[in-house]
């Protein structure tokens, strides 16, 4: 597990495209998103970062060139999938730390006042990331990259539309009406989806020709 995490971390800090995204995405959101609840900005940043970094690492090793290297190393296909699913929590931690430091500096510089640590939003972000990943990861194993990318785009668009809907309409938004963020139902759903998705991905990946 540590070897896979180490690999993900080395790749993350060496990938210029991801570093540029990480650098400019926060100011972009701060100055463009006008939310009814400032906490949602923090939530959106964490979810997007964790989602993009997890997906990038997954794509590298499951569908990209890296799959040949990883699969010729002493690690089984089941373990690769298991570690990839487990590593989303590692990516969540990195996102929380990174967003925290970045937003804290923005606060300190007096550019704008934003949340740089909000435990409530972190707990809401975790099941959302788990849900998104539960759909996207098996799609990348099961389908051609182009189809998987379309599914990925649709899921992410769904998330963004939800956030825009919530930001613009607040209590009257569709998200509030269906009560996604109320109670524990979202957490239970995320756990079930995550486990089912993990099992499905393990089976699919073990049978997949690279």
């Amino acid at each position: 597990m540590l070897a896979v995490l180490k690999k993900d971390l080395i790749l993350l800090i060496s990938n210029k495209r991801e570093l540029i995204f990480m650098l400019f995405y926060i100011p972009f959101l701060i100055f463009t998103v006008d939310s009814y609840d400032p906490k949602m900005l923090y939530f959106t940043i964490i979810v997007t970062f964790a989602y993009f970094t997890s997906l990038s690492s997954f794509y590298h090793d499951i569908d990209g060139k890296g799959k040949y290297i990883l699969n010729s190393l002493p690690i089984t296909a089941r373990r690769i999938v298991l570690y990839k699913y487990a590593s989303i929590f590692f990516h969540l931690v990195i996102s929380i730390v990174y967003a925290g430091i970045y937003l804290w500096i923005i606060n300190l510089a007096g550019i704008t006042i934003v949340d740089y640590f909000n435990i409530e939003m972190i707990f809401k972000a975790i099941p959302i990331v788990m849900l998104i990943i539960s759909i996207i990861f098996p799609a990348y194993i099961l389908f051609e990259p182009r189809i998987a990318q379309i599914i990925n785009m649709l899921v992410f668009l769904g998330f963004l539309i939800g956030m825009v809907n919530l930001g613009a309409l607040g209590e009257k938004s569709f998200i509030k009406m269906i009560g996604i963020f109320q109670g524990n139902s979202l957490t239970y759903l995320a756990i079930i989806m995550y486990l089912l998705s993990l099992l499905l991905s393990m089976v699919l990946y073990q049978k997949k020709d690279l």
Binding site: A3, K65, D209
Partner: protein, 284 residues
Amino acid sequence: MKYILEVNQLKKEFKDFKLDSISFKLEPGYIMGFIGPNGAGKSTTIKLIMNLLKKDGGEIKVFGKDHIKHEKEIKDRIGFVYDQNYYYEDLTINQMRNIVASFYSKWDDKQFNHYMSQFNLNPKSKIRTLSRGMKMKFSLAIALSHHADLIIMDEPTSGLDPVFRREILDILYDIIQDENKSIFFSTHITTDLEKIADYITFINDGKIVFSQSKDKILESYAIVKGGPELLDDSTRKKFLGLRETKFGFEGLTDDLDLFKRNFGDRVLIERASLEDIMVYSVRG
């Protein structure tokens, strides 16, 4: 463990290609060359051995163990070299080494550094800046730095100049001095194999043509040359492959005595190279 690698009745079917129940074995302490034209099934076989492709039937045993049931343990003892660079191009040699080293139980930094200096590779160089030959050397350094007992290589020498190729062959020859290690490598540069291989497995169109010791193969086959007047329909059928011009013919046979008996001094008999055997067998 009698064999380091055993492939029995291995099958794999694609839409337009079929690996048709192939079998071969490799003992510890030997180099086996895996030859065949492009698209014959060499890379498919190697990917099946590495479990990168899933077999449709048959059995693969590495170090006497099933290659799927004992995948992790087996891969820990295999050094694998691809036909092209799959390493992350944005990383430096050192970063890539850090990633790969964490997976192996017997990773040896001293050995890796030894190969880095032998190959004149700078650990701070980004992989994308390396030439094809340098990338191959880096792959080889990775494959040789965890005390692997079996080295599997897919076309390691293709696209490399003769000096690089000879250097790689010399290294492989050194490795094989340890009687417990074996090397299995695919190539279509048959002259490389004539220098170092002990066994040759020839695959064509998804079927094994032969898998034998190199010396036996080179003894069994011969090139027969003669004038056009010697050829008739029945003689033509006795060749494994034949090339005819208006001045004469040149053909491959594995029944030398037959031609000696029938034509005596009227034909010229020459030793067949592996390339001759491959070319004539494929063309027919």
